[in-house]
Symmetry: C2
Subunit: 357 residues, 2 copies
């Protein structure tokens, strides 16, 4: 079977458009690592695509999977790679900033303080697809917003905050006001507790973003940040809420988008939505900016039919790109009314839910 054939089979199985180049990226990832989750991380391809490529390679005996679930090329596989000119992935990520372009030298204290203050944070739970980012990530988000003039003296909306960005922002001393809207009662309580104890200008309220934004917060903020679920519907509602919260043109929004749960086809459709419908400019897309701490419920929540997938991750493999958008004159939020939408279930999702495919 050639690369194009693999792509076609994967596309048929997953329902996700897959090109020969996509398959090449998985192959290239596999030449550098035998660990499934590392390949998902470096290939920048949807989870289901990586899994199916490996499965096809296994079935055609180009790779074999050992008892620990590690994946190795067979001699035949090696010949295949060579004849197709597949080489190991080159990695030129800046080690100082983990590729974010943001230096934390001036924020060492904030890093330390955030770790201390949040040592007793609530665990990530599956109910809301939670999974929080590393401390370096959260402080880098603060630095990025500050660097772009979107934090100091500004009013910040945090839409969903298992990452505890609000606490980091409060501790930085920069924003005038931070409002968290969060569906999880545990987090609302936790954030409000910390804010009171530490005297931070942070307030959390319970909110489901499928409901309308509280009236007093329409057009109230300078900046929003969020980490949206990645169905197109959820992305649209989430962006709509964030933008509806902003006070006018020249305001900014920050959010993550993965390659693991969103194909580039979805990226394109989402980008059309941003620039056509919402009339914002995308000013930054920073690859692998957000690194997530591995969460406990992963292996119980995903497909269990492939042995190489049911392996405990040996790195913080789940990453996302950081988007910054800026509003222009004539930018649009959305009508402020409740909007039911599908949050989690689509072909590209990581978590397997019965009836999904």
């Amino acid at each position: 079977m050639d690369i194009k054939g693999i792509a076609e089979e994967v596309c048929k199985k997953t329902g996700v458009e897959t090109t020969g180049r996509d398959v090449e990226k998985v192959l290239s990832g596999l030449t550098s690592s035998s660990h499934f989750w590392e390949v998902v991380c470096t290939a920048r391809e949807p989870f289901s695509v990586v899994a199916e490529v490996v499965e096809v390679l296994k079935r055609t005996r180009l790779v074999k999977v050992d008892e620990q679930g590690d994946i190795y090329f067979t001699p035949e596989g090696m010949k295949f790679l060579k004849s197709r000119g597949i080489t190991p992935r080159k990695d030129y990520t800046c080690p100082a900033c983990e590729g974010r372009g943001i230096g934390l030298e001036k924020l060492k204290e904030l890093v330390q303080k955030f770790d201390e203050v949040t040592a007793d944070r609530p665990k990530a739970i599956i109910d809301y697809d939670q999974g929080f980012v590393t401390t370096r990530t959260v402080v880098s988000r603060i630095a990025l917003m500050a660097d772009r003039g979107d934090l100091e003296g500004k009013k910040l909306l945090v839409l969903g905050d298992d990452d505890l960005v609000s606490i980091a922002a409060g501790l930085s001393g920069m924003p005038a006001e931070v409002v968290v809207m969060e569906i999880d009662d545990r987090l609302v309580e936790y954030i409000n507790d910390k804010a009171t104890k530490l005297g931070l200008p942070v307030k959390a309220i319970k909110y489901d973003f499928r409901e309308k934004l509280p009236d007093e917060y329409v057009g109230y903020f300078d900046t929003f940040t969020t980490d949206p679920p990645e169905t197109l519907e959820a992305l649209e509602v989430c962006m709509g809420r964030g933008l509806t919260g902003l006070s006018g043109e020249g305001c900014a929004g920050y959010f993550g988008l993965t390659r693991t749960e969103a194909s580039l086809k979805k990226w394109n459709l989402f980008q059309q939505m941003l620039v056509d419908k919402f009339k914002v400019a995308i000013t930054d897309i920073i690859d692998d900016f957000n690194h997530y701490v591995n969460w406990d419920y992963l292996l119980g929540s995903i497909r269990d039919d492939y042995s190489f997938v049911q392996v405990k991750p040996r790195l913080n493999w789940y990453r996302s790109s950081m988007y910054r958008i800026e509003t222009l004159s004539g930018f649009k939020g959305m009508e402020n009314k409740s909007m039911p939408c599908e949050l989690y279930i689509d072909q590209e999702a990581l978590i397997y839910r019965p009836g999904q495919m």
Copy 2:
């Protein structure tokens, strides 16, 4: 006059949409630096907007300009800043990678070799709006393309190459083939000379991108890189040519876009073109990736009515964001025919050409 008033006046004078936040960014830049070009660099605003904001501030005696052209707030200006809550810009750029996210530790030899080999490079000339990037920038571009799997073993099209990316790519030993299409005879000859002497898989041909792509190169390449003029017309033709050169889905294009010569309004229109018309996904936008070496003809080519503008730059102030785009199934290039278009003249351009405004 308040900030909104300044924005309105600047908008009227420049024809460039300007928000209160845009004015704030210039003010914030001016609190950290008295040097016009540094403010242009850090404010991330169109050149003409920065110049007009400073002029309004000068006229209303919020700043004064000294004999060297340095800009200082007056006591009245300081009060103005304080009352509006304007604070100095925070800078969290990673010093190790200058914010690119790309580490050059593994490419030290390439950096050195590129400098040696190109020591006798042609000077930037005004005829084609030239101005080339620093060595760190050019090698970072090589690293970025390699990191994303778009360089090793691939066929690379370089559309316009005063940056000498082709030579750096050739010296890296990674690409299978590099073709430069360049309008400037001096560069065509220079690149071909070096390629022959050094035995690089690089070939330069004379080409004006307003002409159709040579037939043998339609659908030939895996990757293109270019540094387009920033009128919308030129951006469209330049992207069209690059994409027409690519062999299919899953291929990539790289190019720079400034905030100095392109407002976010233009960014939005250009992004609409990319995602709607050309059907590509934007995978990366890396702020300030490209740093340009100051060019000799700057002060002679720009407006000479403001003394603070006619000042020799004290830093490599001209920067651009690096875009990476990836083609999807059904992506479109353009009809392969000649296409006259306006390259340089629009309201947001840096170089002043008679009859421009």
